[in-house]
Symmetry: C2
Subunit: 417 residues, 2 copies
């Protein structure tokens, strides 16, 4: 019986891994172009942190991998990148503020495995700690939209404000103890539809005036109940900055509640046009303090890299990294091949040498299949004349170079790229 | 009480993470220049795989993180990247051969934590599956030496052949059941010294003729006992290829046994000059078959990225990614700043905008401390004239640009880089 991957987890074979890396490289480059810096934290965290108030709570046990180590310490695999980020900010008070970091790494959830839901998946996060201004909320959205555009996606961004939604709920007669249930139900609107949301509200005895306001989805209309508030202003400022920057993908969505308890202000979600949610986040001004740090406002977003990968996999075509394939015909030619390859690599050219001692036909098929643009065959004649022919695989054209003229050959290869 | 990282694991704060990423980027680039392609496999594997014969064995339980999931499946955190690689090759028979892959990722060991020993650490591996020829062993060493040079290290590489060492042991009168113990003791030579190795051999009743041969450390001398053998030829061929390529860092080390049981042929180790081991590997021709795959020869190496990081941390200086810092003085200037920043980023320039609304002095200090080369202050005057001054931080020189002349400004920035 062959060994398999753990249920709900998957391998990325080279063709897939190259595509996933391409996506991660684009995200990293965009994040760095906004001044975000990398932070790496362990996959394993103390269970107490993962289950802390404000993050997962004890109930998280059902949804994550947790275990005791040989010293009976309770540990768990992190289920997001925000909790470790908040821990780092809480415990490293000398960190420069604002602290702007990105992190692209795996997280773990013990979800019921289903199509396109994984128990190990990669998130790409940016967060800003230490800035109260909506400028930070906007930058998160600007960088997110930038990333989505550079990946070639059509997308939409919905925004709301968690505090305003709470104010609206209260103003609509939702009782304090009903707010959590109300938001949990509203969050499912996309999945279960308006009718079912209304039914669940009735079932829980929650005043459905809130639903009327949410379905109208207009700040002017909602403010008839709440009046002008700080949180309404924050949301308006965020939308104003988006508008000033021509971000037509951004729209208000009063039903966006975001399940996670730690959000305190503006919240946002990114969806593919006619597709799934690929990113979400918001402002969480209390979490770092809850972890024992100084009171520190924070805002951020998480991208689901697996979702981006699943959406792009069939469209992306990533060429080979290899520029040149060298096929030696004899042992002596093999030695010469390793030397020529070394010199070419010093010039920034990527070279593969046949290691398997295959014949010309097989090597030609291999180079062709891999899409390698140039091929060199080295045999006794070449060793004697100290010259080799380079075949451009796409045209079949050949050109001769002396072993001592690798600069000329490098120029040819670089001209091709 | 503040939350901490799990014992034996560590955070890489941005200054450190940038250095670690630099090392990983260099390794990746070198590996790709030899035609190696990425493979990503889960951190979590079935315990049965981790404890399989040929890899860890049941005893591995003491040395790794393992646990049961909520369905009572036994799982564990991978302790190296070779086992998952061999699993992938064994179970994906349609993979192109030779299969050349790299992987740079974390692995986990439940070691007693001590200085410079971590329970989560990063390995960088390259492996070739499907090639019996010593050309593959050599390529692994060539790529390794290349990587070490590009990282600026002085280093040495020692090589041996595991099968030859076994032949030598037998020829020197070491009994079959003593071979494992003998190798385990020899492996400690660096740590415990010649005298202690001799003592342990005596204690176990192992013939010390093997030690004489090993300490002389000459193939000619050793072959007086074994005669010419296949494994001696493989070792000679590897050393010959290294010599032909001028790799003076490579030398024979007959005491190199490599603890792991799965090695079958040439083995190698990379050490910093006067420093610790930073990489090791060898040929393991049986492992893939043991995992249920077709008989497939394989060879590879693992670099310890944490060791490389610890050796380089104090020497590396990584500049900021940010080219330009924009400090807006008013809310309106803030909006303009986001627009200018967006245009500059489209030209490949990395721009940070002050999000915190600090005054000029504080922003100047911040940009200076971060080493950002250019700074722009945007106030009412700038908005009115639609021009801004760019200060080159190193010289203090200023130059004026119109909001509409961002191309001219981009050229200035790119010229600086």
């Amino acid at each position: 019986m062959p060994y398999q991957t753990v249920k709900g987890m998957r391998d990325f074979l080279p063709e897939q891994a190259k595509k996933k890396q391409f996506i991660e490289d684009v995200l990293r480059k965009v994040f760095e172009s906004y001044g975000y810096e990398p932070l790496q934290t362990p996959i394993v965290e103390e269970f107490d942190l993962l289950a802390a108030k404000g993050s997962g709570g004890e109930a998280i046990k059902e949804e994550i991998y947790w275990f005791k180590d040989k010293s009976e310490r309770e540990l768990g695999l992190r289920y997001d990148l925000t909790v470790p980020f908040a821990r780092v900010v809480a415990t490293n008070r000398m960190l420069q503020r604002p602290f702007k970091r990105y992190c692209i790494s795996t997280v773990y959830r013990y979800d019921r495995p289903q199509a396109k839901r994984y128990r190990e998946f990669t998130q790409a996060d940016i967060d800003v700690a230490g800035v109260k201004s909506v400028m930070a909320d906007f930058e998160i959205l600007q960088a997110s939209a930038d990333a989505m555009r550079r990946l070639g996606f059509e997308f939409k961004i919905t925004v709301n404000n968690r505090a305003f939604l709470e104010e609206l709920a209260r103003a609509c007669g939702v009782r304090e103890e009903q707010v959590k249930d109300a938001f949990r139900i509203i969050d499912k609107l996309d999945k279960i539809g308006e009718k079912e949301v209304r039914r669940e509200f009735r079932e829980k005895g929650i005043d459905d005036l809130l639903l009327e306001k949410i379905f109208v989805n207009s700040m002017e209309n909602a403010k008839e109940k709440t009046g002008e508030t700080e949180s309404a202003k924050e949301l308006a400022e965020l939308m104003g900055l988006c508008k000033a920057n021509g971000m037509s993908e951004v729209s208000l969505e009063l039903s966006l509640a975001r399940g996670l308890e730690y959000y305190t202000g503006n919240v946002f979600e990114i969806k593919l046009k006619e597709g799934p949610s690929v990113g979400a986040g918001g402002r969480y001004d209390k979490l770092i303090e809850l972890y024992g740090g100084e009171a520190t406002p924070a805002v951020g977003i998480s991208f689901g890299v697996d979702r981006l990968f699943d959406a792009l996999e069939s469209e992306l075509i990533i060429g080979p990294n290899t520029d040149v394939f060298i096929a030696p015909l004899t042992k002596e030619a093999g030695i010469e091949a390793t030397k020529i390859a070394a010199k070419l690599r010093l010039q920034g050219i990527s070279v593969e040498v046949d290691l398997a001692g295959r014949n010309i036909k097989k090597n030609f098929e291999y180079a062709n299949k891999r899409g390698i643009p140039f091929m060199i065959v080295l045999g006794e004649n070449e060793l004697k004349s100290k010259k080799f022919n380079v075949k451009e695989m796409s045209s079949g054209k050949e050109k001769e170079f002396a072993f001592t003229d690798l600069n000329g050959f490098s120029k040819l290869v670089k001209g091709h790229n």
